[in-house]
């Protein structure tokens, strides 16, 4: 009897401990939302070939695991900048440049706290597939926040670009060129013909009517009213791309300032715009750009633009100088006139009436 009693007591104790431990287990099942991923992947794949690559995903949270759901979606562009427009709706029809049928990634991934994991990425292009650029995005969704009024989800995205070599349709049209305010983020409203602040950025906008993403090479020359020139060779320091159908604004600095950026104990290169050192006045801007994929014709587009740099202090000084010059000019004119034709005689009221 005593044995049975002790057994019952032991079972009750186990049940109690399990019921006590269960909520703790649920709590620890909470997912991390701190991830590190590759923002972009580029591949060149011949039709009939495939690429096996690895995606490195890190869980930066030191205490809880990272549970991710992966899916491939299409994307396009937002405006004239480099912001992807993600087609998150699962019912969205595939774009003509979609990789969804060819790009395979695992559906779920769990990464231990503070660890990294490499997951397979496979892109297989079928035989006879047309040449051009194809792109889609991989979305990594962390655990969903369900409950309360507002739930929160954190997701990351890797943009995947595949270039299929061959004869492609390339057509870039120049639309804008000039001094630019970076805050406009590619929008055409960022172009300014009159600038009170010394511009540090030159931008150019190209419309991509082809079936391949483009990044032009070439240079831009600034010429002041005295004929002095400044040449910009780094036309695309951010390695930006004009997507298919996009009117893309590319920005570059009049003077580039390279910087070393430290990340996780290692160093990476970055560039920012240095003070341009422009003098007030008018500047003509001419751009000579080249583009063309391997095996296709190299094409050239050119455009000439211009802008004024007129700081307020310069306008004020100019007004004063012009005023003084006008005053002296008027006095000189009066002196010469008096010498040639004699002093001006004031007309009387009666003479004016006549």
């Amino acid at each position: 009897m005593k044995h049975v009693k002790s057994l019952v007591l032991a079972a009750f104790a186990v049940l109690l401990s399990v019921s006590y431990l269960l909520p703790a287990t649920q709590a620890s099942a909470a997912s991390s939302s701190a991830l590190s991923i590759a923002p972009k992947k580029n591949y060149v794949i011949e039709p009939g070939s495939s690429v096996q690559d690895k995606l490195t995903i890190s869980n930066l949270d030191q205490t809880v695991p990272l549970n991710l759901t992966l899916r491939v979606i299409d994307f396009s562009f937002t405006g004239n900048g480099g912001t992807p427009k993600l087609f998150l709706d699962t019912n969205t029809p595939q774009t003509t440049w979609s990789l969804r049928s060819y790009l395979k990634v695992p559906q779920t991934v769990t990464i231990e706290p503070g660890k990294s994991k490499q997951v397979d990425l496979n892109v297989a292009i079928p035989k006879g597939h047309g040449a051009g650029s194809y792109y889609s995005a991989i979305v990594y969704s962390s655990g969903s926040g369900q409950g309360g009024n507002i739930g929160l989800n954190a997701s990351g995205v890797t943009l995947v670009f595949v270039n299929i070599p061959g004869k492609v349709k390339e057509d870039l049209q120049f639309t804008h060129l000039g001094a630019y305010d970076r805050a406009a983020q590619g929008d055409l409203s960022g172009y300014h013909y009159f600038n009170a602040q010394a511009p540090d950025t030159i931008a150019y906008t190209l419309k991509n009517n082809g079936n391949v993403v483009e990044a032009p090479a070439g240079n831009i020359t600034l010429r002041d009213i005295f004929g002095r020139t400044t040449t910009i060779n780094e036309l695309n320091p951010s390695d930006s791309l004009a997507l298919i159908g996009q009117e893309r604004t590319f920005m570059t600095c009049i003077k580039l300032k390279p910087e070393d950026v430290k990340l996780g104990g290692t160093t990476t290169k970055s560039t920012t715009c240095d003070t341009s050192g422009l003098w007030p006045g008018y500047y003509s801007v001419s751009a000579d750009l080249f583009y063309g994929q391997n095996g296709n014709l190299t094409q050239e587009v050119t455009k000439v633009g211009g802008f004024w740099y007129l700081p307020w202090w310069f306008i004020a000084v100019s007004i004063v100088v012009l005023g003084i010059a006008g005053l002296y000019g008027y006095r000189t004119y009066n002196k010469l006139r008096n010498k040639f034709y004699g002093p001006r005689v004031a007309k009387t009221k009666s003479a004016r009436r006549k």
């Binding site: 991390s32 939302s33 701190a34 991830l35 590190s36 923002p39 972009k40 591949y43 060149v44 794949i45 690429v51 690559d53 490195t56 930066l60 949270d61 809880v64 562009f77 480099g82 992807p84 427009k85 993600l86 995005a137 655990g143 969903s144 926040g145 369900q146 409950g147 009024n149 507002i150 739930g151 929160l152 954190a154 997701s155 995205v157 890797t158 943009l159 670009f161 070599p165 983020q185 090479a217 070439g218 240079n219 060779n233 320091p237 951010s238 930006s240 920005m251 910087e259 990340l263 996780g264 290692t266 970055s270 560039t271 920012t272 000579d288 080249f290 391997n294 095996g295 014709l297 190299t298």
Partner: protein, 361 residues
């Protein structure tokens, strides 16, 4: 004085008489002559220029086929090909890293033929022949084997080409033009720190995303036409990618069944007594909620519509924060406000906001 008057009179008489000689017709004739005469001495660009690299692998030894169309009827005795990073002929020539054409051989030619290699260096080839006038239109191609590809995948390179009458690449220019090429790999080999995008979001996050409070939802309380309900969450984001990042806010409006609390599509002040759900990413005083971005990387900022204090908006898919270039870790506080009208149907109003961080292209 009399002398000055005399000079003025002379100038007037002189120019007045010329007015009848330099008629508009005469000026037009001069201009027309300029138009027709100038191109005779001007150089022309090669048309239909192209480059085909047999392989684009960095550092590989391969063959290049250059195609071009000679445009001028003048005799061509040589074609000069200079390999540079910059395609513009008058710019200084920086040799593409790793490129070597010093052992290239001319293996085939079509169109205008009869050329052989006259001279070559690491980035320069001159081919020559007995000067002959090209047959127009003369689309020609030249294939060179044994060229070592550049190794820098980050930038394009160019071949600056010019045709000349002489057989040694000197003297007057006939046509000119550049072709563009770029090396790229099937799988990009990282020679430096690979680009990374770091992102975390929760009610509270550490600066470097090393931890969060693991809270992903918030109960905001009971809706009332007199009060504004508030909540806030945090996110930290950074990237070493040169294109920067964007964070978009996605999700449906706050709803209970079919009853929806809509969001302003423009930045709008909090208006208790109306149905309103909005967010922003700065510190607010009306109502007191949120905080300004924290961190040293000032180039990561809230987007314009979500960066105005005391003004709120929510449009699914909008960019709420971005950086145009490298930005290592900045923390943003997202403020949420909910207002309700008297007529709002009773219920539990919920939504899920998905913050998506992505690289830019």
């Amino acid at each position: 004085m009399g002398r000055t008057r005399h000079l003025l009179l002379w100038a007037h008489t002189f120019f007045h008489s010329w007015r009848y000689i330099c008629t508009e017709e005469f000026v037009a004739l001069l201009l027309a002559l300029f138009v027709f005469m100038m191109p005779v001495s001007a150089t022309t660009r090669f048309e239909t220029r192209g480059l085909f690299m047999q392989t684009t692998e960095p550092g590989a030894t391969t063959s290049y086929t250059v195609t071009l169309k000679f445009m001028s009827p003048e005799q061509v005795g040589s074609v000069d090909m200079l390999f540079c990073n910059d395609p513009i002929p008058y710019m200084p020539c920086a040799i593409p890293t790793g490129l070597d054409v010093s052992h290239a051989t001319l293996t085939s030619q079509s169109g205008e033929t009869g050329f052989s290699i006259h001279s070559q260096t690491q980035n320069h080839i001159i081919i020559s022949r007995t000067p002959t006038a090209p047959i127009y239109p003369s689309e020609s191609s030249f294939t060179f084997s044994g060229i070592v590809n550049p190794t820098d995948t980050s930038q394009a390179f160019s071949i600056r080409m010019k045709s000349l009458t002489s057989t040694d690449g000197t003297g007057p220019l006939v046509d000119f033009g550049s072709v563009r090429g770029q090396v790229e790999t099937g799988i990009m080999i990282q020679t430096q720190v690979p680009p990374m995008l770091v992102f975390c979001a929760a009610q509270q996050v550490d600066d470097n995303c090393t931890g969060t409070d693991e809270t992903y939802y918030r109960d905001m309380g009971t809706l009332s036409p007199n009060d504004t309900l508030t909540a806030q969450s945090q996110m930290a984001v950074g990237t070493n990618a040169s294109q920067g990042f964007v964070v978009t806010a996605n999700g449906p409006p706050l709803a209970a069944g079919t009853s929806v609390i809509n969001s302003p599509t423009l930045p709008t002040e909090s208006m208790p007594g109306t149905n309103q759900f909005g967010i922003n990413l700065v510190e607010n005083t009306v109502p007191a909620v949120g905080g300004n971005p924290e961190g040293t990387w000032a180039n990561a900022i809230p987007s314009a519509d979500y960066g105005i204090a005391n003004k709120y908006k929510f449009v699914s898919g909008d960019v709420v924060a971005y950086s145009p270039n490298v930005s290592l870790m900045r923390k943003f506080t997202v403020s949420y406000i909910v207002n309700s009208s008297k007529e709002l149907r009773a219920g539990v109003y919920t939504t899920t906001v998905t913050l998506i961080a992505s690289g830019r292209f």
